[in-house]
Symmetry: C2
Subunit: 301 residues, 2 copies
């Protein structure tokens, strides 16, 4: 199956700690790399994890709190310095360009930086022939979105021996992958099911950044293969979560359960917790297939 | 003697490495902390080194290359988040405010940030009753300055037993510290030298950031107790140093020798060197009392 995986570069929250970096992840889809959020120090973590930055041409920023975007100037500056090939597009909330463009205009000369501000809401912000990425509005102290990475439906798999046996010409192959039957010169019909196997089910990864727990998220990410959901607080700090527009581990797990996702990653831990195992235990009471994010981990979608 | 020391937070150069942070230092003068340059990740290194940020109210930025200033938004944001007391003043080159103010205006609400742009040249940019800081123009690919921290001449030291013996009243003490003789009621003169010892010689620390080697630096920092001078390159890469407006270790040592400083710290190592001992050896051929900067080290001035 094609590569589709998520690597955690940072899963701490606003107050810096020596245990976690601020938010950042790499989504690797068929060796195209997408950076999701870019807290301070992201470029260093990329270096540590040997991320192939030349394969990265899109950055998605969920919102403009510093722990999600202050790594941008340094990263872009270094890419410019290294003479990175091609352009890089920064998808960020409206207003964000005004904050970062002065810095990057001043410092980055060797590469094209394209700022693509998106409107708060539910919008497709990236699409290619096999992947589509949309935003979904979250509820935080400022406008903040999640990102949903959806693999597009793929053509059916050719059964090599059968197409050879029936002598299907090359020119017919595309139609057959798309589901057509094969009609021989003598009029015999070979049903598509004989020649192909069903395509893999398109995979979905959702990154749900800073937010109160939302029913809308469960609907949006229904059946996703992998969900990253912030879980800044434990249950004992639920009032603090409410007050700061964050989620508890239990709430994140409830979203995952209602969405019937296959697996949940929690992260964005508050600096107050020295031991995230407690957050994990709380989440697993509701959604057993939960794992803890940690710097350096990679998860298959 | 009053505290006057320098702690290295970062001594790498523009290209990030896993061995060094970009430029940043803390100058501690009588428990007032001054941050000198602020590369990305400075706030994390401060956390690691347990720097008392509440004692820090001035930041000096030598120039606007990212490895000397991209840690500012994160640091200031965190200070705001922590509810740091009082204001913080950023002394930075003209043009720098326009780069950083949009970010800090957007993100920092709980503390006053005062931007104090300085003109390229030789200017006093900070002064209190016991310390004076001036810029000195360097020669780099953009306008860049060094910072010279000069302790002000201090009053003479009172010899407690002698002032007690001669029954010097409290009201006369300030004059005596300033060098006056003591005249008793019967007209007897007690010479100042009997009552006091000379003040300690005022100490000087100079931070010489990115630059070609300059004779003017040797004059400016003549006799300084401690000199930090960039030494981005080894001698074999002298042409590259010239081309990028940096210094070699040997050149830094020559500046130190001509300035007759007491001790030299070299830093701002290019990422190409895995082993800075070679730079040290080169410098020591000219100026033996040279040491290597490294994250976490503290040097008395």
């Amino acid at each position: 199956m094609d590569v589709f995986k998520v690597s955690i570069l940072g899963c701490g929250s606003a107050k810096p700690t020596l245990r976690h970096n601020p938010s950042a992840q790499i989504v690797n889809f068929r060796d195209n790399l997408f950076l999701v959020d870019c807290g301070e120090g992201t470029q260093l973590q990329m270096l540590k994890m040997k991320v192939k930055v030349n394969r990265m041409h899109h950055i998605f920023i969920s919102h403009l709190h510093g722990d999600h975007c202050y790594g941008l100037p340094g990263l872009l500056s270094t890419l410019g310095l290294m003479g990175a090939q091609g352009s890089i597009t920064i998808h960020l909330p409206k207003g964000g360009m005004e904050l970062f463009k002065p810095l990057t205009d001043f410092a980055v000369h060797n590469m094209d930086i394209i700022y693509e501000p998106y409107e708060y809401g539910n919008h497709v912000i990236y699409e290619d022939k096999s992947l589509i990425v949309n935003t979904m509005p979250l509820k935080h102290r400022m406008e903040c979105v999640g990102f949903v990475f959806r693999e597009k439906p793929q053509p059916r798999h050719i059964i090599r021996e059968m197409v050879d046996f029936h002598k299907v010409p090359i020119r017919c192959m595309k139609d057959i992958k798309d589901g057509a039957d094969f009609v021989k010169e003598d009029g015999t019909v070979v049903p598509n099911e004989v020649l192909t196997k069903p395509a893999d089910k398109p995979r979905v990864y959702a990154y749900i950044s800073d937010t109160l727990p939302l029913k809308a998220v469960s609907s949006e990410v229904k059946g996703a293969d992998l969900l990253y959901h912030e879980a800044t607080f434990g249950n004992a700090d639920a009032p603090r979560a409410q007050e700061t527009c964050h989620s508890t581990a239990l709430q994140a797990a409830t979203v995952a359960k209602n969405a019937e996702v296959k697996r949940l990653i929690i992260g964005h831990y508050s600096s107050r917790y020295k031991e995230e195992q407690d957050l994990l235990k709380e989440a697993q009471t509701v959604f057993p297939n939960t794992v803890l994010a940690d710097e350096g981990l990679t998860f298959d979608v």
